[in-house]
């Protein structure tokens, strides 16, 4: 699955964003990645998505190693790992349905299957009624759902989510969390970054990894 071995990420002038972090995330697990703002949560997710390389150590995602993967073949990792970005990264000026269909289209889904599958994905995140709405006219919670539907498009084995409840009210938060647990219940691993300890306490079944200033200081499975 995914395995980080003595991973460090250093930025020129800024110093270490992550220092000597090791953990293993098995198939189908739900894990929270927590820590103060600036502790290295986003950096960890980016490393797993292979958006950047560690400056030391190795990140392994299924068969792929951060030390060996090239720009040309990084798409293989991206199709196996869905990422719900903190700022969603939806394409404005397109509908919810078009945003999901876009992913299917550019990853080579046969043309006839694109629309039905995009519809199904939106239904899965409970957004079928808003399929035709422009994403920039949707609420934060609804945009979050579009982003999740998009991340699920290639049927990944792991879903990364960066502060998915960060800007949502209590109700919307709960809806989104339920959705992630649903997805996890169907066998998909989830690695969710959040600084909200309150939220973590509400879901005691999740594994907790805590970062502090780039160091992994707590792992509920090792404790």
């Amino acid at each position: 699955m995914i395995k980080l071995t003595n991973v460090s990420r250093e930025y020129p002038r800024r110093g270490y964003a992550l220092r000597d972090v090791s953990f293993h995330l098995p198939k189908g697990e739900f894990a929270f990645l927590t820590g103060h703002s600036g502790s290295g949560k986003t950096t960890t997710l980016r490393l797993v998505h292979m958006m950047e390389r560690p400056t030391a150590g190795e990140v392994r995602v299924t068969g792929y190693s951060s030390q060996l993967i090239s720009t040309r073949e990084v798409w293989k990792v991206r199709r196996r790992v869905g990422f719900v970005f903190q700022d969603f990264r939806l394409l404005p000026g397109r509908t919810a349905l078009q945003n999901v269909a876009f992913v299917l289209e550019v990853t080579g889904t046969p043309r006839k299957e694109v629309m039905p599958r995009a519809q199904r994905l939106l239904a899965q995140v409970g957004l079928a009624p808003k399929a035709g709405a422009m994403v920039n006219e949707l609420s934060g919670g609804e945009q979050q759902r579009v982003a999740i539907a998009r991340a699920l498009a290639n049927d990944p084995f792991l879903l990364l989510a960066d502060e998915p409840t960060g800007n949502l009210d209590e109700r919307a938060s709960r809806g989104i969390m339920d959705l992630f647990w649903d997805i996890n219940a169907r066998g998909m691993a989830v690695l969710m970054a959040t600084h909200d300890l309150e939220l973590i306490r509400k879901y005691p079944r999740g594994r907790v990894l805590e970062l502090d200033n780039g160091n992994l200081v707590y792992d509920s499975q090792q404790a």
């Binding site: 958006m51 040309r72 990084v74 798409w75 293989k76 970005f85 990264r89 394409l91 550019v106 290639n154």
Partner: protein, 284 residues
Amino acid sequence: MYALREAFAAFRRTPVLTGLSSAMVGLALFAVGLFALASYNLHLALSAIEERVQIVVYLRDDARQSEIDLAEKELGELPQVAQVHYVSKREALDNAKKELPDFADLFSTSEVNPLPQSLEVELKSGSRTRPVVESIARKASSYSFVEDVQYGREWVDKLFMLRRIGAVTTVVLGAGFFLVAAVIIGTALRIAIFARREEIHVMRLVGAKNGFIRRPFLLEGAMAGLLGGLLAWLLTYATYRGAYAFLFAVAWIPGAWVLGALAAGALFGALSSGMAIRRHLRDL
């Protein structure tokens, strides 16, 4: 086919930008086209003048026919000589009457024919240079029955110079204009790609292959180049028609040049697009 659809969609989505880039490419290639038109016609004019470079060997009246035949044969066998044409005193007189009708009376009333017989030596097209002309003239004057040898001495020199200047300017200016066209296509496509950088980035993040992302842009570049090429062709053709109607009879450039320029436009478009997109596909 996604690539083709996307490339057309890009034209629809940003008609102003793509239209503008095609127009800019069209104008740059129009400059190339005008230049090609001008240099091709200059080339034709020079060739026409050059055709007339010939050596005239005037023979004495008392030259024997066997001597003349021998000289005609010997000169004709030189490798630089295309053909040798014998002009008798009669033919010379007829030609003179035709070319100078005002003096026709004078010629016909006179009892004797004052014009000499001659051999007109026509050179092969690559051999109309001063050294060749001079060496043949020297050989011709060595015959005892030759009165005089004439050729446009300074003329040959100037013509040769003009041709060289023409060739050099064609290459240098043509390459320059083409370079400008390439820079314009590149810049226009860079703008088009920059406008869609977020989309490109998202494509990469969700697992699109680099080649897949690149393809529609290459096609778009090729289409912009081709469209620009067609526009340039239209403008150049219109200029040609105008010049033909109002100035003088110019010749249209060969079809192969036009096709070559269109192909080059498309290729340049695709190439500069490929260069412009490269830095968006470089990072992990």
